[in-house]
């Protein structure tokens, strides 16, 4: 399995690296990815279906239990076939859809990367591995949606999708780690075989995982990104945003739903509620669209809601029905998207008000589309019908409310399918300029790729046994129940059929009176626009986030150096004080000091305190020098002749340098613009901190120091009597080496700052 994923990666890499020579055949090369998946499935399919999963495992980070483990069972196999079976025709379709360019090659490479991620996702047996591929699909989806990157709407749609699904993914990561903590393993096969129960943590874990699935599969209230994602080129919409990526969430709840139900009693009601709202809301919104792609997108939202409800329910019969619907949906929705792509490609528009006469000008496309549309409405003899019967059968066994809900959604499905067909192939709306297409050549992949999918859709509808073993096997893997449902061409007159026929009839009725429906949806829509919706919530949240970011960072990050320093100093004063007071410190007052110290101290303090009041710069320099010389004298009181000498010399040089600089500046300081009181407050706080901290520290003074060794060793070991100098050049010469390095750097820096200015000045005169 890893090999298949790597093939995808390698193909994408080759496409990027050899963009020029491969440009013309980019998508054909990219198709090698799905082809390799199909080949793998052909070689291993029967073995997997016989109940012997193919496993592989690669340890990435052992201590984090991060392992890329694959385990392809029948459930994975079904998804693999969907991914590659839909993917392969779409790649070939894309070859006709795009004209060769480096952008198209990038697109092909990204699609291949996506296909590989999707393969990894559905084959993963390790929750972290699943997460890795999950987020890879988010990234590739972002890049694909933003393909038309000159358009702002494509960019923002890409961002919307990335934020919602990426954010859901990150929440899911938290849930995964929590779940694994409870289960003691990240392996999906072990968790589902032996679901952890009975811990409050599990509630959080499962809620977060469900959140990931809900965002990825565009469930209410996170569905709004999916219609936006229609900004992507149509092949990407067909592949990612109808057939595969959006099913990742469905895949996940299908895999884990039974464990979720076992652990949390809210799981099933939550799944039902979310699925129901999504299903109805999507169908309703589809009825209001004019863009064929958007119409299909809302239809997808609706269908995803249905599948979510079914597969997440943790009920074997529903899981079976859900999987059947999933296969059917992938086939007919991809066909419809590809048809829309062909229409768009040939006519330049997808607006159903402008399209007209396509039934005559594109007859073959019309029949292909019709076949898929019939399957979508679940007309008898189609796969859609067989699948829906299986689902209705299961729902009816559960509760009448559930089947009523599903029937409502089915009614809407029929209605929007009719809107789609009449819109695309019927006459144009009067008063708008109609767009007509031209006949597609039969060898164009724009025609035969959807045709292929439509044929499969019809073929499987007529011969459900083609997919029955896989659906059966998959349902058995997740539910543990073999033959949980039936997939037949005609179920006979069973109660579920009545519900089907009722919803079909109601739907056809709506289709017949579609002008009335239009007016109603318009009217309701005008009211609904004022209500809060997921879309407006997102639209408002981003500017709000930006404003909040501006405000909050403006608050701290106000650009003012004095403010920064004040904050730093206050933290430096407060944090240690609070920490120390917590441990009840002891203040020990030391002796006052000798008379000489008092005199020097008074002098230094006098000079220092005078400094802020003096405005003439040279007077300031003199005061500063006074402080320095006073301190030099104080050092000598403390027995530091070296210090006194150095301090005197440094002070002299510093004063000279000060004078050098100040002679260029105005003679007096301007009055500081910052407020005086806060400055005074911070200054006093710092002073008080130093004083009291000094007292506390003095109380905890250590009786012995490492200097004792230094003083004792100085003469015998280092041959020097001046211990301070011996420290500087011997005991701690490494400090000194560093120090002179600092001096060199500072001198180079200072010279570099001033000399160019002088050179400039010279060259100007």
């Amino acid at each position: 399995m890893a090999l298949v994923v790597l093939i995808h990666l390698a193909v994408a890499g080759i496409l990027v690296l050899f963009r020029r020579p491969l440009g013309r055949w980019a998508f054909v090369v990219g198709a090698l990815g799905p082809a390799s998946t199909l080949l793998w499935a052909a070689l291993n399919g029967s073995r997997v279906l016989s109940g012997d999963p193919a496993t592989e495992s690669f340890t990435w980070v052992a201590s984090l239990d991060l392992t890329i483990a694959f385990r392809v069972d029948a459930y994975s196999l079904l998804f693999l076939l969907v991914v590659a079976g839909i993917g392969l025709p779409i790649f070939l379709y894309s070859q006709s859809y795009f004209s060769p360019s480096s952008r198209a090659t990038n697109f092909a490479a990204t699609m291949t990367l996506f296909a590989g991620s999707m393969v990894g996702l559905v084959a993963a047996d390790h929750l972290l591995a699943l997460f890795v591929f999950w987020e890879l699909t988010t990234i590739t989806s972002y890049l694909l949606i933003g393909y038309y990157d000159q358009k702002a709407e494509a960019r923002s749609a890409a961002l919307h999708a990335a934020l919602v699904t990426g954010g859901g993914g990150l929440a899911m990561l938290g849930g995964i780690v929590l779940l694994a903590g409870e289960a003691g393993t990240y392996l999906i096969s072990e968790i589902t075989a032996n679901p952890p129960v009975g811990s409050n943590v599990l509630t959080v874990a499962w809620a977060l995982i469900l959140l990931g699935a809900v965002t990825k599969s565009a469930q209410f209230p996170f569905h709004a990104w999916l219609p936006g994602a229609m900004a992507a080129p149509t092949p990407a919409s067909a592949f990612l945003h109808s057939a595969t990526m959006v099913k990742a969430g469905i895949f996940l709840v299908g895999r884990l739903g039974f464990a979720g139900v076992a652990a949390a009693d809210w799981w099933q009601p939550a799944v039902f509620t979310i699925g129901f709202i999504t299903m109805v809301l999507g169908g309703w919104r589809a009825l209001r669209q004019y863009d064929l792609k958007l119409l299909l997108a809302f239809g997808t939202v609706s269908q995803l809601g249905f599948m979510f409800l079914l597969l997440g329910s943790g009920i074997p019969a529903l899981a079976f029905g859900g999987l059947a619907i999933l296969v059917g949906h992938a086939l007919f929705k991809a066909t419809l998207f590809l048809s829309v792509g062909a229409i768009d490609h040939e006519t330049g528009t997808r607006d159903l008000r402008r399209l007209s006469g396509l039934r005559r000008s594109m007859p073959r496309l019309f029949w292909v589309t019709t076949a898929a549309a019939l399957s979508m409405t679940a007309m008898p003899l189609t796969l859609g019908f067989a699948a829906k019967e299986a689902a209705f059968d299961g729902l009816l066994a559960e509760s009448v409310w559930l089947i009523a809900a599903a029937a409502t959604a089915s009614t809407l499905t029929v209605a929007y399918t009719a809107r789609f067909m009449f819109g695309a192939f019927g006459p144009a709306v009067p008063g708008t300029e109609p767009a007509t297409g031209k006949r597609l050549a039969s060898r164009s992949a724009l025609l035969w790729a959807p045709a292929l999918l439509a044929v499969m859709s019809v073929g499987i509808g007529l011969l459900p046994t083609l997919v029955l073993p896989i659906v059966n096997g998959a349902a058995k893997v997740v539910s543990g129940v073999a033959k949980a449902g039936k997939l037949v061409i005609w179920p006979g007159f069973v109660p579920a059929l009545a519900w089907s026929l009722a919803s079909l009839t109601a739907g056809l009725l709506l289709a017949w009176r579609r002008q009335l429906v239009d007016r109603t949806t318009e009217a309701v829509g005008r009211v609904a626009e004022r209500l809060p919706s997921a879309d407006t919530a997102y639209r408002r949240s981003i500017p709000a986030l930006l404003r909040f970011a501006d405000r909050s960072s403006g608050l701290l990050q106000n650009g003012s150096l004095p403010a920064y320093i004040a904050i730093i100093l206050m933290v430096a004063v407060t944090a240690p004080t609070v920490a120390a007071i917590g441990e009840s410190p002891v203040l020990v007052t030391p002796p006052g000091g000798s008379m000489l110290e008092w005199i020097l101290g008074a002098l230094i303090v006098g000079f220092a305190v005078a400094l802020p009041f003096v405005r003439r710069r040279f007077a300031v320099v003199i005061l500063l020098g006074g402080v320095g010389y006073g301190i030099a004298a104080l050092y000598s009181v403390f027995g530091g002749p070296d210090l006194t000498l150095t301090q005197l010399l440094v002070e002299t040089l510093a004063v000279a340098l000060f004078a050098f600089v100040l002679r260029h500046l105005p003679a007096t300081f301007s009055r500081p613009a910052t407020a005086r009181l806060p400055r005074l407050a911070v200054a006093l706080a710092v002073g008080a901190f130093v004083f009291f901290a000094g007292l506390v520290v003095n109380g905890a003074r250590s009786s012995e120091t490492i200097s004792d060794t230094l003083v004792a060793d100085s003469v015998p070991e280092a041959a020097g009597s001046n211990v301070v100098n011996v420290i500087l050049v011997d005991f701690r010469a490494f400090d000194t080496l560093g120090e002179i390095t600092v001096l060199v750097a500072a001198a180079l820096g200072a010279a570099g700052l001033v000399i160019p200015v002088i050179r400039d000045a010279r060259s100007r005169t």
Partner: protein
């Protein structure tokens, strides 16, 4: 082999001296720099191999036994960070030579860069508190003067606030040293580790906070970070890149060293975790508010420091290991991102999002370099940031610290958001005319950094194991003390 330890500091110093002496012979300067930084990289790897094989190198400089003299220690933790730093220093040096080579505005760039190298190396390997001060001063002085390689009004303003803030921090650092020496009578970190346990708990608690603030300023943690985004973006790209990659991480390194060696505690620190969360959130919100590539990235420096403090805050082996891996990943990724930002600037003369567009189509290679780094920064799989963040999340949830985990995940999402802001602004959109071309040297050096980042992701397994071995040494301060002072 012990001589390698002082040599990783002294060789760059020697190189700086030579570089100053050869004057304006650029070729010679380059050879000297490459040799010196290359030596540090090789020596760092040797020290790492040695430390990991159980013979940690401990050098007593001048032959004076600890605690009297200055001790240098390359334990696993120091050696890991030193290795990543040295490799990045080398890559950025190549980038700088490609970028600054054509119009050498500053003849002493190489000498300054070597001083910076020496400072970083010393700050990482020193086992002495005052020597650490010297190390920091070397590193910072070099950074001051490198910030003014270009000397327009903006650079001068930025440098002013940067220098002033750091000097305030240095004064606080000296105060801390004074207090430490008063209460313990020693400067040797190993010795301090033993003596700190015996002093007045009030003083110990106060000193712990004071050092946290001192190094917190350097590491740019909340609420001490505001200087960083105002000063970093103005410097030339190689300078900003190396600052972004190294300086704050050295601060984070020292915070971890201090908190584990001197002020060890067993329980997760709620204070540190709060600081971590606040740093992440404030940093990432700041990034979102920006409209310039380098400024966005600068705020992310702050934000990502939060994750390192988060790992430290758990004060557990797994948490510290995660922090170590995170620092390594950040050194590489952050540098790389700034280098990419520099490529964009080199071509467009600006990093303002609204004045650039379509780079993906005009220069796909730059986009290809940006993407893995940006995703890695956001912590998305399968890139290096993911592994480090996963380690943090696992440990946080294992310790029942759900709040900080939630905050870190939210910050990741916002990071992703701001990365898409750069992607959407710079790489997508209407193509803008280029003013210049980023040379092959610059692109190549950036590619090497990107490759390193991918390497960290690929070999995350062995690296994590190494980081865990380093963390085992960290949680037990007696390991370090015994190494330096001998088993008591």
């Amino acid at each position: 082999m012990t001589w390698l330890l002082p040599a990783v500091v002294a060789v760059p110093v020697l190189g700086a001296g030579l570089s100053v002496l050869v004057g304006r012979r650029l070729i010679l300067q380059r050879v000297i720099s490459l040799a010196a930084v290359g030596f540090v990289a090789v020596a760092a790897i040797a020290l790492l191999v040695s430390a990991d094989s159980g013979t940690t190198q401990v050098a007593q400089v001048g032959g004076w036994a600890a605690p009297a003299g200055i001790t240098l220690v390359a334990d696993r933790f120091a050696a890991i960070i030193l290795t990543s730093s040295a490799v990045i220093l080398l890559a950025v040096l190549v980038y700088a030579m490609a970028q600054l080579g054509r119009d050498a505005v500053d003849w002493w760039f190489h000498a300054k860069y070597l001083v910076l190298t020496a400072g970083v190396a010393l700050s990482l390997v020193t086992g002495d508190l005052f020597n650490l001060f010297v190390g920091f001063e070397i590193m910072l002085t070099a950074s001051y003067v490198l910030l003014t390689v270009k000397t327009g009004p903006d650079e001068v303003r930025a440098t002013m606030s940067y220098v002033v803030i750091n000097l305030v921090a240095s004064a606080l650092f000296l105060m801390a040293i004074a207090f430490v020496y008063t209460t313990t009578g020693t400067l040797n970190l190993a010795d301090l580790s033993r003596k700190m346990a015996e002093i007045d708990p009030a003083v110990r608690a106060g000193l712990s906070m004071l050092t946290l603030v001192v190094f917190g300023i350097k590491a740019a943690i909340f609420p001490l970070f505001m200087w960083l985004p105002d000063s970093y973006p103005t410097a030339p790209t190689p300078v900003t890149a190396i600052f972004a990659g190294l300086l704050t991480k050295v601060g984070a390194f020292v915070i971890i060293r201090m908190q584990t060696l001197l002020f060890a505690q067993d329980e997760p620190s709620t204070l540190l975790l709060f600081v971590a969360g606040a740093t992440m959130v404030v940093g990432v919100l700041g990034a979102i508010a920006q409209n310039d590539v380098k400024r966005i990235l600068s705020f992310h420096i702050v934000s990502q420091i939060g994750y390192m403090i988060m790992g430290l805050g758990f004060l557990s082996i797994a948490g510290l290991a995660a922090a170590i891996l995170f620092i390594t990943h950040q050194i590489i990724v952050k540098t790389g991102l700034f280098l990419v930002g520099g490529l964009v600037e080199a071509e467009h003369g600006t990093g303002a999002l609204d004045r650039i567009g379509g780079v993906l189509h005009r220069r796909p290679v730059i986009a290809a370099l940006f993407l893995p780094l940006a995703l890695s920064l956001a912590g998305l799989p399968p890139f290096s940031g993911f592994v480090a963040k996963l380690a943090l999340i696992q440990e946080g949830l294992a310790l029942d610290r759900g709040v900080i985990v939630a905050v870190s995940l939210a910050a990741s999402l916002l990071t992703l958001f701001s990365m898409t802001k750069i992607w959407g602004g710079v790489f997508w959109g209407r193509e803008t005319e280029a003013e210049g071309t980023a040379g092959a040297g610059m692109v190549g050096a950036t590619a090497v950094v990107v490759a390193l980042s991918i390497g960290v992701a690929l070999f995350a397994g062995p690296l994590m194991a190494l980081a865990e071995r380093a963390a085992v040494d960290l949680v037990d301060p007696t390991v370090y003390a015994d190494l330096v002072l001998g088993v008591r």
